[in-house]
Structures are given as C-alpha cells and as structure tokens.
C-alpha cells in the first residue's frame, strides 16, 4: 500500500492517469461529457482515438483520447466550460485538462477556480484519502529505492 503523505497548500496536484487505468474507468467518457455542443455533435459517432500525450512537467508519455486535445483547444474556451454550479472536483478536473495537466497547488487552483471559497477548501477536497477523478499529489519517485551508484 502506498504511503499517504498529508498534502499541504504547497503540494502540487495533477491528474494521475495511472489511477484511471487501475480503476478501469474510461477517461474518454468523462472527456466526452464535457465537450461543447459543437464538438459533441462532431465527435458523437467517432471511435476512440488514442494519441501520445506528453506530460508538460515530467516528459512522460501517456495515451489519452484525442478528445483531451479537443477540450483543451476548443471547449475549455467556452464561457460555460465551468459554471458556479460545477462541483469543485469536476472544476478541478476541467482546469487540469484545460492547462494540459500542469501540476498546480491548491492556492494556484483557487486563483483559477473562483467558485471555491478558499485554497483550504480545495486542499480538504483533493487532499483526502478519497481520490476524485484521479486528481492526486504529484509523485516524486518512480522507484522505491534511490539508485545506488
């Protein structure tokens, strides 16, 4: 079991694609549900189309559906992409998609998601043991032990 490190207001969060894989959940379904009306009509009958997506922070390559770029390039610029009624966790997910999953702290997220009353509320929502939409603190290590030279 992975060690749980209590996140703080300075902890960077991002969407962890491994979480989606482990949970056997389809990110594409979520992406589709947040397409704008035009894109939803355009991609209604399209088959899944995975592309190599490059993590702008780590350089890691993940396969995501092309809808990721569709949302990032088009839908996220629509006025109703997030509204005051959008739940906080969903708003955070959409924010990460819109900024290509660049890691953000609760304080930085608060500057974007104005619906949240404070960074502390964002931290309380995203920093607990319950993981919403794969949003987790950025991992610091890929291996259990440091390399021995």
């Amino acid at each position: 079991m992975a060690a749980f490190i209590k996140p703080t207001l300075a902890t960077k969060f991002h969407i962890d694609f491994d979480w989606w894989q482990k949970q056997a959940r389809s990110l594409r379904v979520y992406l589709f549900s947040h397409l704008c009306a035009t894109c939803a009509a355009r991609y209604a009958d399209s088959a899944p189309h995975p592309i190599d997506w490059v993590d702008p922070y780590t350089g890691e390559v993940k396969q995501v559906d092309v809808l990721w770029d569709v949302i990032r390039d088009c839908c996220s610029h629509q006025d109703d992409f997030t509204t005051p009624q959008t739940p906080l966790a969903v708003a955070a997910l959409l924010t990460f998609i819109a900024n290509d999953n660049m890691p953000l702290t609760p304080v930085e997220l608060h500057e974007t998601i104005s619906i949240a009353r404070s960074p502390e509320i964002i931290l309380r929502t995203l920093g607990g043991r319950q993981v919403y939409y794969g949003i987790r603190p950025v991992r610091t290590s890929l291996t259990r032990k440091r390399r021995v030279s």
Binding site: V54, T58, T140, L142, R146
Partner: protein, 530 residues
C-alpha cells in the same frame, strides 16, 4: 517533485557555519574589496550551500545521462529523471510517434527499479518543454527552486544570527553595526590620524561624519572610499575620546569631552522605581486622562495612536522633566526626534521665538531628550507649563516654543518643604507662560530642600498608597469644592517621587478611601482607609 534540502526550512534551522562557508566569506571580501552587510554575506553563504548541493547531485548522477525531452537516446542507455527525484532507468526500447500538436517525436520505454516497471518518455522532442536545459542552465533552473535571495528572505531568522555569531567570534572579521570587513583589509589608522580627527571635530563645534574627517587625514589613495570610511569609523569606535552621536543608520562623531558629563546616565528624577501591581483596574473617567499626561513610562498600548504627520505637538511639562531639563519621548513626541544609532543622538534645539540654537541630546532608548534646563529657566517655565515642539526641514533640528504671557503673580497650588515633610498649599508665584490648571505645581525657591525630600523618598520609599492618601488629603483641603483632579494628584505625587500615572490611577480605582466625583475629580474619605 524532488525537493532539495536547501529548499527546506529544516535545513536552515539546523545550519552550522563550517570552515568552507567562512572560506567563501573570505573570498567575498577579497573579490569585492569593500565592507559587506550581513544580508549579502548570508546570501553568499546560501549560494555556496546551493552550489555544493548541486555538485553533490551532479556527482550522484554521474554515469547516467540527465533526461531531457529534446535528447536522443539509445537502447541500453541509463537516464536520470530530474522530476522523479532523480530516479534512474534504462532505455529498453523505442518507437516513433506523432501528435498534430507536437509533430514527430520518439517515445522511449524506460525500465525502472528491480520490479521492471516500464514507463514511456518523450525523446527527440522539438516542442518546447520545461525539462530542456538551455546553454549554461543547471538542474536547479528546471525545478523552480527558490534563489538564494528568496531563501534568505524566507529563512533569515534562522540564518542571519548564526552568521553574525560566527563572524563575531572569528578574529579575522571586524564589524560596524551591520557592516563587516576583513581585518586585514582595514586601512592603517595611527595615533596621528586620531588626533587630527579630534581637532577637526573640535573646530567644527559639532559632530562630523567619517567622510568629513577623511578630508583632513590622508589615507592611501588607492584604497576604496568605502574601506577608508569603514576604517575611520572602526578606529574611532575603539577610541574612548570619540562618541557616535548620529541618528539611526548615520555615523556622526563627536567628542565625549564636549558632551554633558552624565549623558549616559538617566537623570535621577526620571528613574522609574519598580511598582509592582497585579492588574490594572481603571475607573472609566481615568483611562482617557492617560493621553493627556505626557509620561514616557506609560505603556503605549494604553494610549490612542497619535498622528505621526503633525507639524507641531504640545505637551504639559511635569516636575521630573522640569527638574531634569528634559523632554519626554512619548508616542506623541517620538516622531519629532531621530532615533539614536548608538545611545544618544545630538540634535539642535531651536527657540522659535528668539531663534537661539542650542544642543539637545536624544536618549531614544530611555525616552527622554536632555539639554533644556537653561531654556526652561530663561522662560521661567513651571511644572504644568505647555511646551510645543515644531518640525523643521532638518530632521535633527527641533523648534521649541512656550506660550509666553506677561509675567504676573498668581495664586497657584504650590509645594512647601517643612523640615523633612512637604505640604501643598496655595501660594503666590510669578507666572510667565500659559499652563494646564490641573497640572501646575509651584515649586518655590528652595530647590535644595525639594531635592533632599526626593532623595529621602528614593532611599526610604513610602508605600505609594500612603503617599497618595497624604497628598490627596492636603490637596482636597486647599480646594473649595473639597475635590482633587486625578491629573493634579499625578502632578503632585511626581514632585515628591517619580511615578507614572497608571499605578496612581490603579490605586485611586481600587481603594474605597478615594471616592470618584465624576469627570476625573476625586475626594478623599479618611474614614474609609483600608
């Protein structure tokens, strides 16, 4: 994200200044050839520690290539990943890829650790990426780490005292306040130089900065001006003839022989004795009076914040200051006087009416300004007189005025010494200035007798309550209404002994023999003594 130790508070909390740090500080002085403030030295030390850490990291990843998306890698190559805590992995395969957003690139499969976990990373990536290093960039630049000045600003409370402690105990360094220099870089200042400095100040009849003194003494021309100045300041600090009397941040040299003899001693009448009392209880009428009594010993937290931009303020002179020839520095008057760099700062006091100028000495730590005895005498100011302070264009010059009136004999409350006792009674005295009717106390002409009573009270202090009861009884007697105002009690008590208003008001409010009559007036009921 990998977090470097130097980026954490714990690292700086546990900092121990080591020989290599001191060596770095030596280099700073030798390279800059000028005095350095503690902050600069601290930043240099932080930079040194960050560089050491960087070197250690570099050495740790030796044998592995630092992963950058723009790089090309071959199967079997070992890579180190900076955004994954410098974990290392081996390239096990690669494939070509394309994304309309980025164009063509390569995807490498990298195997990590003993369990063979394989992850994919981008390579041959022409698109901009934050992990790509430019010419001369180091890993730290990609990690968004705080710079040495930023680290100093965050952790200076941990870092600065340790550096100061190290430099103070190291005989190779010398300091003047916050400025440091290597002793070996000091200019040679000999006895002749010091004698010239003494003469220059004497002739100037006022304080001189090091720059002015340097005009009269010749130091090696090739020596930087900042070191010359530092050397003069350092030498004069060590010579007992000289005294720094400049305002905070400005060193100005004066001769101790030209200063008042007791400049560093708090005048006898201003010494506040220990007056322990458990808590402060005030009658509602009393608290506002604290603002009307200009007593430097009153806790500023009990006072309303004064206007710091006022061009003039008026205070009421109490007996201790009248007798000592001093002015109180209270929140109301503080903005008019410069803060001393050392113990006291020499200022010029200007009589606004006559234009006469005379020296004053601001003892900012002890909250008084010395040098007004003669001015008080010349203007026949009595206890309770109004004194006004006015700003001038020069922050070290303060103008003074009193509200002069045509001298005439008036009936006022006065103090008379009978043997070893003092009595308050109405006396006729020449008055030459406006005064606060509630604070005035005529002191008569027998100053020596009053001083003797003061010293006697200081050596064998009577309990404040007993003294207050005695004085209240006498003052109530000479008032036709049979009352005494709290300010009058304060003023009268302070003719006999030094006592701030708070302990007096506390006694008034907590003993039933003092009966409040409203508006700050009290009467005394001897039958209700505790």
């Amino acid at each position: 994200m990998a977090q470097r130790a130097t980026q954490t508070a714990g690292y700086w909390r546990q900092l121990t200044v080591e020989a290599s740090d001191v060596e770095r500080l030596f280099q700073v002085f030798l390279e800059s050839n000028e005095p350095q403030p503690t902050e600069n030295l601290a930043i240099q030390l932080i930079q040194h520690r960050c560089q050491e850490e960087e070197m250690a990291l570099r050495s740790e990843i030796q044998g592995g290539t630092l992963y950058q998306p723009q790089g090309s890698y071959t199967v079997g190559e070992e890579l180190v990943f900076p955004r994954f805590n410098y974990d290392a992995g081996t390239v096990v395969s690669q494939r070509a890829s394309r994304n309309p957003r980025y164009g063509d690139f390569t995807v490498i499969q990298v195997e990590f650790g003993e369990n063979g976990d394989v992850r994919e990373f981008v390579a041959d990536f022409a698109h901009p990426h934050s992990l790509n290093l430019g010419e001369g960039e180091v890993f730290a630049d990609t990690e968004g780490t705080a710079s040495p000045p930023e680290l100093y600003s965050q952790y200076q409370d941990s870092i600065a005292p340790k550096i100061v402690n190290e430099l103070e105990t190291n005989p190779d360094f010398v300091n003047l306040g916050d400025l440091w220099l290597l002793k070996d870089l000091l200019a040679p200042i000999h006895a002749g130089h010091l004698n010239i400095a003494e003469a220059a100040i004497d002739i100037n009849e006022g304080p001189l900065p090091a720059d002015a003194i340097l005009k009269d003494i010749e130091l090696p021309a090739d020596m930087p001006a900042s070191i010359q100045k530092f050397s003069v300041n350092s030498a004069l600090t060590l010579d007992a003839r000289f005294d720094n009397v400049g305002p905070k941040g400005q060193v100005r040299w004066y001769l101790r022989s030209l200063e008042p003899a007791d400049i560093e001693e708090i005048p006898l009448h201003l010494l506040v004795p220990e007056l322990p009392f458990e808590s402060v209880h005030f009658n509602d009428d009393l608290e506002p009076l604290l603002n009307e009594i200009d007593d430097e010993a009153t806790d500023p937290a009990l006072l309303s914040p004064p206007s710091t931009k006022a061009e003039a303020v008026t205070i009421v002179l109490n007996y201790p200051h009248r007798r000592s020839g001093t002015l109180p520095i209270t929140p109301k008057t503080a903005a008019f006087f410069p803060e001393a760099d050392n113990h006291h700062v020499r200022i010029t006091l200007l009589d606004q009416e006559s234009g006469d100028r005379f020296p004053g000495w601001v003892a900012s730590q002890d909250n008084y300004v010395l040098g007004l005895s003669q001015w008080y005498d010349q203007n026949q100011l009595t206890t309770g007189a109004y004194v006004s302070l006015h700003r001038t264009d020069d922050p070290t010059t303060v103008a003074l005025s009193c509200q002069r009136v045509r001298p005439k004999r008036e009936w006022i409350r006065g103090v008379v010494v009978q043997g070893s006792k003092i009595i308050f009674q109405n006396v006729r005295q020449v008055i030459a200035c406006e005064y606060d009717d509630l604070m005035i106390v005529g002191e008569g002409s027998d100053q020596a007798a009053l001083d003797a009573v003061w010293i006697s009270n200081q050596d064998n202090p009577k309990p404040l309550l007993a003294l207050l009861q005695q004085i209240a009884m006498e003052l109530v007697k000479i008032n036709p209404q049979g009352t005494v105002h709290a300010k009058t009690l304060y003023s009268a008590v302070n003719v006999v002994r030094r006592c701030p208003p708070v302990p007096i008001f506390h006694q008034l409010s907590t003993h039933p023999c003092f009966v409040p009559m409203g508006h700050g007036y009290w009467t005394f009921d001897a039958t209700r003594r505790d």
